[in-house]
């Protein structure tokens, strides 16, 4: 029961309370750039969610099995050259940023090839967005959040398992989709509004995003209520 409650809290937190776009400001570039039509916004949202889940899976595995001190693979390999105590204390987390960016870039490439080959229809609908996702900070942000909950924490028993990592990525991506779809809906209506000349384009979009962020602030504190109810 406690486990399900924790998963639920992570999901609500990632999607609504601490929305990636409107609270942490990651993924602003597609949020401003690709939110002119609802249809493309949905495509972008799903593409980001898809890649985010895959990249989180890869980066969680790499962090847990290779990077952190005492990780199985690195201590096994180092065991050939070093004493067991020394091998268990090898800390490779300094390499984490380089490894993550490599994991993201290659998973984007892989997803692109896979979708192109197996689902040509899907590829046509979000193919153009896939290469853009490599430089989307939301993906790297999800990987970093997962890493901060796996490496360098005091009690190893509290480290996140795979299910929590995937939940964060899935619902973080859905929160991104929600924000970008709401935004594109508003911007479609904005075509009929009389916006002052200097504010056309990005400026008015940012101000609307501010109002949206205010609306999402209304979710603050929902998590502590749920925690009281469930735990």
């Amino acid at each position: 029961m406690e486990f399900i409650a924790e998963i639920f809290l992570i999901a609500i937190g990632a999607a609504l309370i601490n929305n990636f776009v409107l609270y942490y400001f990651v993924g602003i570039c597609p949020f401003i750039g690709v939110s002119k039509e609802v249809e493309t916004a949905i495509g972008m949202g799903f593409a980001v969610t898809f890649v985010m889940v895959i990249a989180s899976f890869i980066s969680w595995s790499i962090t847990t099995f290779i990077l952190i001190p005492g990780a199985p693979i690195s201590s096994f390999v180092a065991g050939f050259f070093l004493t067991p105590e020394k091998a268990a204390s090898i800390d490779l987390t300094i390499l984490s940023y380089i490894v993550y960016i490599f994991a993201i870039a290659s998973s984007v490439q892989f997803v692109e090839m896979f979708v192109k080959k197996s689902y040509p229809l899907l590829y046509r609908s979000f193919g153009v967005f896939l290469p853009l996702i490599t430089t989307n900070c939301a993906i790297l942000f999800a990987c970093l959040t997962i890493m901060s909950n796996v490496a360098g924490i005091d009690n190893p028993e509290n480290a996140w398992g795979l299910s929590k990592a995937i939940t964060l990525a899935l619902f973080g991506g859905m929160g991104f989709t929600l924000a970008i779809v709401i935004m594109s809906g508003i911007r479609e209506e904005l075509n009929f509004a009389d916006v002052p000349e200097p504010f056309k384009g990005a400026a008015i979009t940012l101000i609307i995003a501010g109002i949206l962020a205010m609306a999402f602030m209304g979710f603050t504190g929902v998590d502590s209520g749920i925690r009281r109810l469930l735990l």
Binding site: F141, P196, P198, I204, I207, M214
Partner: protein, 205 residues
């Protein structure tokens, strides 16, 4: 092929005519996230300046070796290396600041300003041009960060660099230091910059 700008032109363009934030709308994530007070804005601007400068120089030095289809990977790996250096440096010397900026330091890796400068300038021109371009763009970025952080800190807490400047009767606009304030400030300043540049453009013609 069009003539590439000289080092001095690159330097001057970065500050205002091609300001990364206000004109090119690049690197918006850190611009919005770390501008709730001046101190973190200064740290962020310095970190980005260091990474941009080093990455531009390295890319410019190896530009003849770059293969077209691999160049983006090389850019990101170079940037990631320097970002790791900055991150460890901050964690060692200004730990509180490194805690406060949290994930936004590693997020410099995917900051579009740096990749864009590597692509547009460093991979095509020599070291002098790349270095002056990096300095110009960093100044432009710093200018944008400081303008937003200044407005937000003064209106949100009545202070500038944690120094009280507004009278204590000033009701702090808490919303300005919260996430929505970042969007409002950048939106309004962007509108202002557009309005000013439209006006001066009309006068010139």
């Amino acid at each position: 092929m069009a003539e590439l700008p000289t080092p001095t032109e690159r330097f001057l363009q970065g500050i205002l005519p091609e300001n990364p934030v206000y004109r090119q709308l690049l690197g918006l994530c850190p611009t919005l996230a770390v501008t709730n007070n001046m101190k973190s804005a200064v740290t962020m601007a310095a970190a980005v300046a260091f990474v941009l400068f080093c990455a531009n120089i390295i890319i410019s030095l190896i530009r003849d070796l770059l293969k077209p289809h691999l160049r983006i990977v090389i850019f990101t790996l170079t940037i990631a290396t320097f970002v790791t250096i900055v991150d460890k440096f901050l964690a060692a010397y200004v730990y509180s600041m490194s805690k406060e900026l949290g994930p936004y330091i590693p997020l410099i890796i995917v900051n579009c300003i740096i990749i864009c400068r590597c692509e547009v300038c460093a991979s095509k021109q020599n070291v002098v041009a790349a270095a002056s371009d990096a300095v110009g763009q960093s100044l432009g970025f710093a200018l944008a960060l400081f303008s937003i952080a200044g407005v937000r800190e003064i209106l949100g807490t009545g202070a500038f660099f944690e120094l009280q400047i507004l009278p204590s009767s000033w009701p702090n606009w808490i919303i300005m230091v919260l996430p929505p304030g970042a969007f409002f400030t950048l939106g309004l300043l962007l509108g202002l910059v557009n309005w000013l540049s439209n006006r001066s453009g009309k006068k010139a013609t």
